[in-house]
C-alpha cells in the first residue's frame, strides 16, 4: 500500500510541475504594452503628442534657462549669488567666462538621453526627432478631421523650423535633420555633418513657407489654444530668420574663413551679399501685412480702462511696459504661455518685483536681483528722443551729480528726494523699464497714480543688497513686472499676475524692417523712417529726422546709411530691452566683442547715504573672445561623432 501511495504522489507531483513548466511560465509580458503607435490611434492621444512637440520650446521667460537675460551685459549678478536656492545664476557664469566644453551651460545641442547634462538647456534634437515622428504618423488617427490634421502637420513643421533656428542662432552651422535615421543604421550613417549656415537658413525658410500655408490666421479657440502656432507667427519667424541670415555675423563673416569640416566645405559664407537684406525686407513686409490682417497693432496703454484716471506721463511709461506684460495684448504676435513668469524660482517677476516692506525676505517673497547694468540705464534716450551723448541739452550735465526730485517729475521721482541727474528728463521707456532709488512705482495694488509707492534700494531698505541676493548695481528692472503683481505689507509671498512672455511682438518686426530697408538702400528714405517712427511715436517721441535735427549735436545723422544704422540699432536696444533680444542682436551685429569687453558698472549699493550710494563703481571687466560668439559643443558629443567639428576657439 505504502509503495503505491508513494508512486501516485510522485506522479502527481511530476505532473503538477509539468503544468507550470510550460515555456509560458517565462512569458510574462502582456500583449498590449504601450508603444509609440498607441499615441496615434485617436485624435486625443495625437494631440497629446503634438503638445509634447511644443514642450521642447525653450523657456523664454526663465532666467535659469534662457541665456539672453544674464549671459550678456544687460543685467548682472555676483559671485556668492550662487548660494541662492531658488534662482540659479548659471547663465550669468557665461558672462564671467565660465563656459566650457566639458559640461556646457545652456546645452541645447542635446537629446533626452543626456537629460542630466542640460545645465539649463533643452534636448532640441529629441524635439526635432519627435516632430519627424509626428509628421510620419499624422495620417493614422482615425477620428482626426482632415482640416485639423493639415493644421497640426503645419504646427509640427513650424516647431521643427524653430528648433533648427534656435540651434543655428546659438551654434552656427548645425546638422539638418530632414527625416529620422533609423536606429539600427550603422556608425557611418548616423555620423551627421554640420551643414553650411546658408543651407540651414534656406531649409528653415522653406519649412516655414510650407507651414504658413496651412496655419490659421488667428487662434480659433482662445480659451484652449492661445499660444499655438498661427500664420502670423510662422511668417514673423521666417522674416526674423532672413534678417539673421542677412546680418553681419552670418553674412560675409571673414572671421570664420577657417571653419572647414572634413569634407572640405566652408561652413560660413565668406562673401557679403546685400541681396539677403532685400529678401529679409520682403519677408518682413509680408509678415507685417498678415499680422495687421490678423488684428495686431502697436499696444497703447491709453486704450485700457484705467488709463483715463492717470496722468499722461504714467500712461506713456506704461506703454512699453504694457506691450511686454499685458496679457495677450494686440501687439504680441507670439507669446509663450508655458514658460511661467510667476512663482518662487527663476521667474522674471520673482527676480524683479521690488519690495516695499522689510517682511519681504527672499526665500518667502522676492529676490529683487534682476539688476540692469549702468550701460543700459545710460542707453535710453533723453526726453528729446536722442541719446544722452548726442543731446545738446546734456553737454554740460554731470550724470552722477545729485539733484532733488521736482514737481515736473512727480510721477517718476519722489519729490524732494535726492537722486542723480541721470534720472531726470529721460524718455518714457526709461521710466517704464528701470526702478531706481527714489523712483515712483506704478503698480503693487495701486491703480491710480495719486500716491504711488516709492522704491528704495539703498542699504538698510527693503531692496538692499545682502550677501546672497539683491540688486548688485543698485537698480532693478521694472519693465517685465506686471502692474497688477503686488505684495502686501506683512505678506511673505506676493500675489502674482501671470502673463505669457512675448517672443515676437509687432515693434520687433517694424524695427527689423527699418533695419533691412536701411541696409539694402543706398541712403535712408521715407520708408525707413516710417517704420522706426511708428515705434517712437507710440512711446511719446518725435520722429527720427525731427528729433535729431532739433536736439542733436549731429543733426544730419539720420540722413546717412551709417548714421541711420546706428540710430536703428539703438532704438531696437531701447525698445526691446530686457525682453531677451539684446543678447542675440549684439551678436548678429558683430558688436558683442566691443560691448562685452568694456567694464560693467553699477552704483554702490552697500551705502546708506545718497552721496555714497550714487557713486559709480566697476563691478567687473569681462573678457570676451571671438570664440564666445558661438556656443561650444560638448566634448563628449564630438567624441561620439567624428564628422562634427568644434566651434573655432573652443
Amino acid at each position: 500500500m505504502k509503495a503505491k501511495e508513494i508512486k501516485i504522489t510522485v506522479i502527481l507531483i511530476i505532473l503538477g510541475f509539468w503544468r507550470t513548466s510550460c515555456t509560458d511560465f517565462l512569458d510574462v509580458v502582456p500583449d498590449n504594452v504601450p508603444t509609440v503607435d498607441h499615441a496615434f490611434n485617436k485624435r486625443y492621444q495625437a494631440e497629446g503628442f503634438l503638445y509634447g512637440l511644443y514642450s521642447f520650446l525653450p523657456n523664454h521667460a526663465n532666467i535659469a534657462d534662457n541665456p539672453a537675460f544674464f549671459a550678456g551685459d544687460e543685467a548682472w549678478l555676483f559671485k556668492n549669488f550662487e548660494n541662492e536656492r531658488y534662482f540659479n545664476a548659471r547663465m550669468w557664469t557665461i558672462a564671467i567666462g565660465e563656459q566650457g566644453t566639458e559640461s556646457p551651460i545652456a546645452n541645447y545641442w542635446a537629446s533626452s538621453r543626456a537629460s542630466h547634462d542640460l545645465n539649463g538647456g533643452k534636448p532640441l534634437f529629441t524635439g526635432i526627432r519627435d516632430c519627424n515622428i509626428f509628421l510620419e504618423n499624422a495620417h493614422k488617427p482615425i477620428d482626426l478631421e482632415e482640416s485639423e490634421r493639415v493644421q497640426w502637420i503645419a504646427e509640427a513643421k513650424f516647431l521643427k523650423a524653430y528648433y533648427h533656428f534656435w540651434l543655428l542662432r546659438m551654434y552656427g552651422p548645425i546638422p539638418i535633420i530632414k527625416e529620422n535615421t533609423p536606429i539600427h543604421y550603422d556608425a557611418e550613417h548616423v555620423a551627421f555633418y554640420r551643414e553650411p549656415v546658408d543651407s540651414v537658413f534656406n531649409y528653415i525658410v522653406a519649412l516655414l513657407d510650407e507651414a504658413s500655408q496651412d496655419l490659421p490666421l488667428e487662434v480659433v479657440n482662445l480659451t484652449e489654444n492661445l499660444g499655438r502656432a498661427t500664420k502670423p507667427i510662422a511668417l514673423s519667424l521666417k522674416a526674423k530668420a532672413l534678417t539673421y541670415a542677412a546680418s553681419p555675423f552670418f553674412n560675409g563673416n571673414t572671421d570664420y574663413a577657417d571653419m572647414v569640416d572634413n569634407r572640405g566645405i566652408n561652413l560660413f559664407p565668406q562673401n557679403y551679399e546685400s541681396e539677403k537684406w532685400k529678401r529679409a525686407a520682403e519677408a518682413l513686409i509680408d509678415a507685417i501685412e498678415v499680422c495687421q490682417e490678423a488684428g495686431h497693432r502697436l499696444y497703447d496703454f491709453q486704450n485700457s480702462g484705467v488709463a483715463s484716471t492717470l496722468n499722461e506721463k504714467t500712461v506713456l511709461a506704461m506703454n512699453v511696459r504694457g506691450a511686454a506684460t499685458e496679457l495677450w495684448n494686440e501687439e504680441m504676435i507670439w507669446a509663450n504661455p508655458n514658460s511661467t513668469t510667476v512663482g518662487r524660482g527663476p521667474t522674471l517677476q520673482y527676480a524683479a518685483m521690488p519690495a516695499f516692506n522689510v517682511y519681504n525676505i527672499v526665500f518667502a517673497g522676492l529676490s529683487k536681483s534682476y539688476a540692469p547694468t549702468l550701460r543700459v540705464v545710460e542707453q535710453f534716450y533723453t526726453k528729446n528722443g536722442v541719446t544722452i551723448e548726442e543731446d545738446k541739452d546734456w553737454i554740460d550735465v554731470s550724470l552722477y551729480e545729485l539733484q532733488k526730485g521736482d514737481s515736473a517729475h512727480q510721477y517718476y521721482i519722489q519729490e524732494d528726494r535726492e537722486t542723480i541727474n541721470l534720472h531726470f528728463n529721460r524718455e518714457a521707456r526709461f521710466y517704464g523699464a528701470i526702478t531706481f532709488d527714489g523712483s515712483k512705482y506704478y503698480g503693487n495694488g495701486k491703480l491710480t497714480d495719486k500716491d504711488l509707492w516709492t522704491t528704495e534700494l539703498k542699504a538698510g531698505t527693503p531692496n538692499e543688497l545682502s550677501k546672497d541676493y539683491g540688486p548688485v548695481t543698485g537698480y532693478l528692472v521694472r519693465k517685465i513686472v506686471h502692474r497688477l503683481t503686488s505684495i502686501s505689507k506683512e505678506a511673505s509671498t506676493p500675489t502674482y499676475f501671470r502673463y505669457a512672455f512675448p517672443v515676437i511682438r509687432l515693434a520687433d518686426l517694424y524695427l527689423m524692417l527699418a533695419e533691412a530697408l536701411n541696409e539694402y538702400k543706398e541712403t535712408p528714405d521715407g520708408e525707413v523712417y516710417e517704420y522706426i517712427d511708428l515705434v517712437r511715436n507710440r512711446t511719446g517721441l518725435d520722429g527720427v529726422v525731427e528729433s535729431w535735427a532739433n536736439h542733436s549735436i549731429e543733426p544730419g545723422k539720420p540722413l546717412s546709411k551709417i548714421g541711420m544704422r546706428d540710430i536703428i540699432r539703438r532704438e531696437r536696444l531701447n525698445e526691446l530691452a530686457f525682453e531677451g533680444h539684446r543678447f542675440w542682436d549684439l551678436r548678429r551685429w558683430k558688436l558683442a566683442e566691443e560691448y562685452m569687453s568694456k567694464p560693467i558698472r553699477g552704483l554702490s549699493p552697500y551705502e546708506k547715504e545718497a552721496e555714497e550710494f550714487f557713486k559709480v563703481q566697476i563691478l567687473e571687466t569681462p573678457v570676451f573672445e571671438k570664440k564666445d560668439y558661438l556656443w561650444p559643443i560638448r566634448q563628449t558629443d564630438l567624441t561620439l561623432n567624428n564628422n562634427l567639428i568644434q566651434n573655432p576657439g573652443w
Binding site: 509609440v36 509634447g52 529629441t126 508655458n338
Partner: protein, 655 residues
Amino acid sequence: MHGTFDDYTGPVPGGSQLYRNAINVSPVRFPAYYEPDKTFQHEKHTLFGNDEAAAYMNPYAEMVKGYREESKTVILAQFELHQDLSQWIDGLNFRVLGNTIRNAAFDLSRAYNPYYYRPYRYDRLTDEYFLEELNTEQGTEYLSYIPGYKSISSSFYGEFSTAYSKTFEQHAVSSMLVFIARNSLDANAATLSASLPMRNMGLSGRFTYAYKDKYLSEFNFGYNGTEKFDKGHRWGFFPSFGLGWMASNEPFWADIKNVISKLKIKATYGMVGNDQIGSTRFFYLSDVNITGGSNFTTGYNFNKTRRGVSINNYPNPRIGWEVSYKSNLGIELGLLDGSIDIIGDVFHERRTNILQSRADIPMEMGLWSTPQANVGEAIGSGVDLSLDYNKIINNNFWINGRATFTYARSTFKFYEEPNYEMMGVPWRSRIGEPIAQQWGYVAERLFIDKPDVESSARQDFGEYGPGDLKYKDMNKDGVINNLDMVPIGYPTMPEVNYGFGLSVGYKNFDASFFFQGSGRSSFWVNASAMSPFVRSGRLENGLAKFISDDYWTETSQNPYAGWPRLSSYKIDNNTQRSTWFMQEGSFLRLKSVELGYSLPRSITNSLNMSVIRFYVSGTNLLLFSKFNLWDVEMGGNGLGYPLQRVFNLGVNVNF
C-alpha cells in the same frame, strides 16, 4: 517556517543620519536652541536656532522633533519532501522543495515642524538679544503624520531533483538532475514593466564517475531560461566538465603517504550564463510612456495642459545571455598526516556578450535613451590559495589555523567605445585595462597666481583661478577636457584579498584571532562631499582637521598645499577625479580577537547544562594601512559614520 521581525521606534533620522547631520552643520552659525527672550518668553515650544529663512538643518531639532516607527517582516514558508527510492533502484532518491518568501516593510513618522529663531539685534549694554521668528507660517506645535516608504515583495521558489549514487566495486557513479522554477514580484513598481514578475526556469544536471577513487571525472550542464529576453534568446545551454587525479591514492604513493597525506590535481572547464544585466527589464520591448514627456500649457488663462510621449527603451530583440568561459586548474595537498590542508587554484575566465551602450550614436539622432548591445568581452585570471591547519595535540591542547589568499585581475578585451586611436587619445581606451580601473586627470599642482593661470592650458570645468588644481594637458591641444583623462591608480576593486587566523584551545581556555587584508586598490577622497563650508541642501559640509591644517591661502600661495582654495560653493574644477585625491586602499585589519573560558564539565553537569562558557571579544581592534586620515574601508567620505571598534563580554549557555 521561518520568520524575522524587526521593529524600530526612535528619532526620526536614525543613528547614522544623526551623526552625519551633526558633522555636516556649521558649529558657529547658530546654537541648537535659544533661551527665550522678552518677546517669546511665553512660547511653549523650544526656540530652535537657524539662519536666513530656516534654510539650514538643525540636528538637535531633527532629533527631538518627533519619532519614527519602522517595521520589517520576512516570512519564509517552506515545504520539503524527501523520498528514498532505493526500493526500486538502489541509490536513487528524489526531493521536492517549494518555498515562498514574503517581505514587507514600512515606516512612518510623527513629528512637529520646529519653529526656528534668529537674533536680529544684540544690545551690548544690557547684554540682551532680540529674536525674530523665521518660519511663522510653517512651524507647528502639534504632531503631523509623515508617511514613509512601503515596500512589499513576494517570491516563490520550487525545486524538483533526483539523485542517484552507487558504487560498483572500483567504479563509483553518481548523477543528479535538478529542475527549478523561480518567481519574484515587487509591489511598489513604478512602471508597467517593473510590475511584471521576474522568472527563471532551469534544468541542471551533474554526472560523475570515479575509478578506483583515483581517477575522477565530472560533467555538468545547465539549461536556463529567463523572462528578460526575447523568445529566441530566452534559453541558454551552459555545460562544463572536469577531470581529477587523486595521486595520493595511487599505489606508488604509499611510501610518501605519511608526509604528503593527500595530493589531488584537478582541471575544469565550463560555461556560465548571466542574466542579471542592465537595468532595463525587457530589452526586446518598446517601453513608451504615453504621458511621460514634458507638458505644455496654452490658453487665455493657461487653462489647457497636455503632455507628450517619452520613450524609455527602443526595442532590441537580439539581447541575450552573457556567457563566460571559465577554466580552472587546482591542486589539493594534505601534509603532516592531514593536519595541514592546502588548496590552490589558478583560474582563467573569458566573459563574452557583455551588455554595453552603443558608443557611436550621436546626440543629433535625438534619441530618448541609448540603445545597448551584447558586444563587450573581458578576460580575467587569478590565483586562489587557502591553507588549513588542524591539530589536536592532546586531550587538552588543540590548534586550528586558516589562511586564504586571492589574486584576481580582469581586463576588458573588447569595449564598445569611440575610436580613440584615431582621435589621438589612445589612453582613453578601456581595452586592456582592468574592469574597475578609473580614469582621471593628472594633477600637477595648484595655480600660484593669475599670470600662472593665463599661461596654462584652458580648463573647461567652470570657474577656476589661483589656488585651484592645475591639470596636465595630455594631448597638448591647449584645452583640459575629458580627452586628457588617463587611467590612474589601481582599480577600485582590490586585486589582492587575504586573511589569516588562529584558534587555540588549552584545557578550558580558548583563544582566537583573525586578520583580514586587501591590496592593490585605490580610492579617492571625495572632494565634493568633503569640501568644507559647501552647502548641499540644508547641510554645510563639515571641516576636517587635515584640511584646516594645510590649505592654499592667498598669502602662502603654496602650490603643493594639501587642499586647494576653500570656497563656500562647489568648485567643479577641483572635484574632478584626479591624482591629487588618489589614495591607496590597501590595509591589514585585526578583525577579531576572542578569549573564552568554559566551566569544567563537572560543574556544568551538576547544573544540568552541557556548556557554560564566558568570553570576551573585540572586533576591529587594529588597522594597518598607508592611508591614516580615517578608516580605509569608509571610502572617500571621511565625514560619514565611522567604523566602530566593538568590545563584547558574554556567556554561552547550552542546555
